[in-house]
């Protein structure tokens, strides 16, 4: 059974973006970007909601063609393009860059994907992840806690009818002040 990992940068007050969807506060220096790349490299697939797909597709497909971009960025661009992506959206017409569009039954599709052999999968952003969490599909939570209190925004975790017990499996302090907290679901 493949693992589904939900991994995002969050503010200290638990938001992944501001109310007007800004992520200008998210720290992505060389140290963090290298870490993100190494994690992405190990994934068998990226599961994206529409907004996340659009955000990624806006920048990464051509980032490796820009000579002034850093080696780390160029590396990530190649990882993103070459890793199979499944995009869950009822409204998108088509997707590109090694992506498959799924319009309905996201939860069923994700259950099927998890049952397939292969490397672990990453889900993002918060809207798609919320569905996954509600259906007990997320095996690991990875939070990159940024040293900022935003005051409002889209939360990393959705409201839930029951609490989820977790087990801390890893922590890492980055020189920028970002703290990486990695948890697995305690029930698994």
């Amino acid at each position: 059974m493949r693992k589904l990992i939900y991994s995002l940068s969050v503010s200290l007050d638990g938001f992944v973006e501001t109310l007007d969807r800004k992520i200008d506060w998210v720290i992505v220096d060389e140290e963090l970007h290298t870490f993100f790349n190494d994690q992405a490299r190990e994934k068998g697939a990226f599961l994206h909601g529409r907004r996340m797909y659009e955000l990624m597709a806006e920048y990464w497909p051509t980032a490796d063609l820009v000579p002034t971009n850093t080696a780390i960025e160029i590396d990530f661009a190649r990882i993103w393009k070459s890793t199979p992506k499944i995009v869950f959206s009822k409204t998108l017409d088509k997707v590109a860059w090694n992506s498959r569009l799924v319009r309905d039954n996201a939860v069923e599709e994700i259950k099927k994907l998890k049952a397939q052999p292969g490397k672990d999968m990453d889900v993002g952003g918060a809207t798609l992840a919320a569905s996954c969490i509600e259906h007990g599909l997320v095996d690991e939570y990875q939070l990159f806690v940024n040293p900022v209190v935003l005051g409002a925004g889209t939360p990393f975790f959705p409201a839930l009818p029951n609490s989820i017990n977790l087990r801390l499996i890893e922590t890492k302090k980055f020189s920028s002040g970002v703290v990486y907290l990695r948890y697995k679901s305690a029930e698994k």
Binding site: P147, L150, G151, A152, P155, F157, I164, N165, L168, L181
Partner: protein, 188 residues
């Protein structure tokens, strides 16, 4: 200049208590000898506690009732000078308490100017929010508990302004809790 330190146990989804007041049974996940020791050291570094009304009333009941705690922490809690900020509280009976009915920000600024040891604030999320917005909190110490509650009372209240922080320290507890300490950026 005394330091005002906010100390709280907080769930991974940012709540300091559950949906019902004083729903804090999830503290058990991280409470133990290690955290008790740290709490005691923290109390010994201080000579004053600040409270909002709700936290004050709950703590007063807890620490003074016969079936409550005994021992060093209880002695500290009961004897240490306390200030409760409330417009509506008529009297504050817990040993060694001063009641302040207005202008919390002004009063706290004055207290910080006095010489003395650290000042601590627990719970008291509304009061903390006011003090935070006035730049009066010098350190935020959060013990992140490995649980997603799904609903509750957020520690950080909605606010129009971002507050940049600087990470001071991280400490991983044997229980799976992680203590994160921050100072508002520019204050260290």
């Amino acid at each position: 200049m005394r330091k005002l330190i906010m100390w709280n146990l907080v769930t991974l989804d940012g709540y300091f208590e559950g949906a019902k007041p004083w729903e804090i049974d999830w503290h058990e996940y991280v409470w133990g000898e290690e955290l008790e020791q740290l709490s005691l050291e923290q109390l010994k570094s201080a000579d004053m506690l600040l409270f909002g009304r709700v936290t004050y009333q709950g703590m007063a009941t807890y620490w003074t009732t016969a079936t409550g705690e005994t021992g060093e922490i209880a002695d500290f809690m009961n004897s240490i000078p306390k200030v409760v900020f409330s417009r509506t509280l008529e009297k504050a009976d817990w040993n060694n308490t001063r009641l302040v009915k207005a202008n919390a920000e002004g009063e706290v600024a004055k207290l910080k100017q006095q010489s003395g040891k650290n000042i601590l604030i627990f719970g008291s999320a509304n009061l903390s929010s006011t003090l935070m917005q006035h730049g009066l909190i010098d350190e935020y110490r959060l013990a992140v508990v490995p649980v997603v509650l799904g609903a509750g009372n957020p520690l950080f209240k909605p606010s129009p302004e971002r507050v940049r922080m600087k990470l001071l320290e991280t400490k991983r507890l044997k229980s799976g809790g992680v203590i994160l300490s921050y100072a508002p950026d520019g204050k260290q």
